[in-house]
Symmetry: C2
Subunit: 278 residues, 2 copies
């Protein structure tokens, strides 16, 4: 009879997976078992710690809605989301870097309730974002669907489209640094690790156009706080831009502002669809 | 500014943990992050697979009750529970091997509703278990609290105590092979891996006595089905015993049985409390 102990258990589990119908399932689960066991061995995990881990994951699983926000936040906080995005996304020369899948991007705002031309009623200083959407070869992408949301308590998602030149101009509010959810198990984990929960100020963008990969990315503020210690490791240097503060006066949309405002420009380069991947 | 990509993310996360107040938290989380990232890299996990994993864990977290049964079952099915138990438990010479923490051991049966001398009303062939509880030096442990439960649909937990010689005799029903829960996410995972959900027939024991480590273990049936393919990797060769089938006649408790019955003997050796650990 097979003798299973701490030295033979890993091979015993993996040997059981040779009958998996899907070779990718077998590959992923084999790798997972090896690394999960290596972790338990290296950490010399105790039964009490194992039980605490099970309890913690259960609490994460029950927190948030069907989007599994707390588990996503856990993945973000451990750098796994950023790693997976980096592994999965092609790095086309000049292509805009992706950030982790949107955990907290509000997608529940009725689209027709919004309008890029509508006045901003939310608190916060006005922020004009002039964007350009283009392909890796430099050609403009017209009609790209763009969603933008500033971080911070006053952030509201706005939806718009790029024009015939692939350009758009949107009025939003200046993004502010904001903490990730602190009341749940991940918040407690961060505290136990002595880590602060803050994310640097950023605009989150989702951009899609037929024939191109959906882009989820952030644009950060040059010189902003927490750029070097984003609680979820989302900062890439290529995504940091000058946010220029202007005194009251003429705005990028040809109007006049009676209050100070911020303006920034950013070019978004979309990768062609994965179907074209070599 | 720190440049974070797929090569630098792991070190960036770990560097954030140097401020953890508890060195053990830091140690465990650092090991976890390294192995979790190593898994993602080796498997070249895609965003879609990551999302499926998050969804799967969320479903596990919401399944079962506060005991987090589905997450425990997941750990069992991946061999993690057996590994952690093997790592955590001392291997005293001659000490009875522990099995994984009891995921499905019924502890909700009112204790006073049971009695080792009460007749067995459940279906199933009678099974007499004669046990001895002793310490590593061979001295009997009197008054040890023993719970025993046969696997299978008819299994009911029985509670009793060892006598002055550390011995007990309990009448239960013959254990049967049984599948782990199949309706939940772990059941689907096993199916995807081409693995059957069966556990070999076993008696599950929980034994405790003042001054000794709580023992959770199984006693399996020699020659039984699935001994080499327990769905949760709980079988140790030292825990396999002869289950002797007897024709109708005189039983171990001095009575007479009109039907065939099974009898087995097993010695349980408890480790002294961890407080005495060198």
């Amino acid at each position: 009879m097979q003798h299973i102990d701490q030295d033979t258990i890993t091979q015993a589990v993996i040997a059981r997976h040779t009958t998996a119908g899907d070779t990718r399932v077998r590959e992923v689960m084999t790798s997972l078992v090896q690394h999960l066991h290596a972790f338990a061995r290296e950490a010399r995990l105790t039964e009490a710690e194992w039980a605490e881990g099970v309890r913690f994951l259960g609490e994460c699983g029950r927190s948030g809605n069907a989007g599994h926000q707390e588990l996503v936040l856990l993945s973000d906080a451990l750098g796994l989301s950023t790693l997976v995005t980096a592994l999965d996304r092609r790095r086309l020369k000049g292509g805009t870097e992706s950030t982790m899948p949107a955990a907290f991007h509000a997608t529940d705002v009725p689209r027709d309730a919004q309008d890029a031309q509508a006045p901003i009623h939310a608190k916060g200083e006005p922020c004009y974002v002039r964007g350009r959407v283009r392909s890796a070869d430099g050609s403009p992408i017209a009609g790209a669907q763009v969603s933008v949301r500033p971080s911070g308590a006053n952030g509201a998602t706005r939806h718009l489209s790029s024009d015939a030149d692939g350009a758009f101009l949107v009025l939003t509010t200046v993004a502010e640094a904001c903490p990730v959810a602190q009341s749940g198990p991940v918040g407690r984990l961060l505290a136990a690790l002595g880590r602060h929960p803050w994310r640097p100020a950023h605009l989150q963008f989702m951009i899609s156009a037929p024939g191109y990969e959906h882009l989820i990315t952030h644009v950060f503020r040059k010189g902003g706080q927490y750029l070097d210690s984003d609680a979820v490791f989302g900062v890439h240097s290529s995504l940091v831009a000058d946010w220029v503060r202007h005194e009251p006066g003429r705005t990028p949309d040809g109007q006049t502002s009676a209050v100070p405002f911020t303006a920034l420009e950013f070019a978004f380069v979309l990768n062609a669809n994965k179907g074209d991947k070599p």
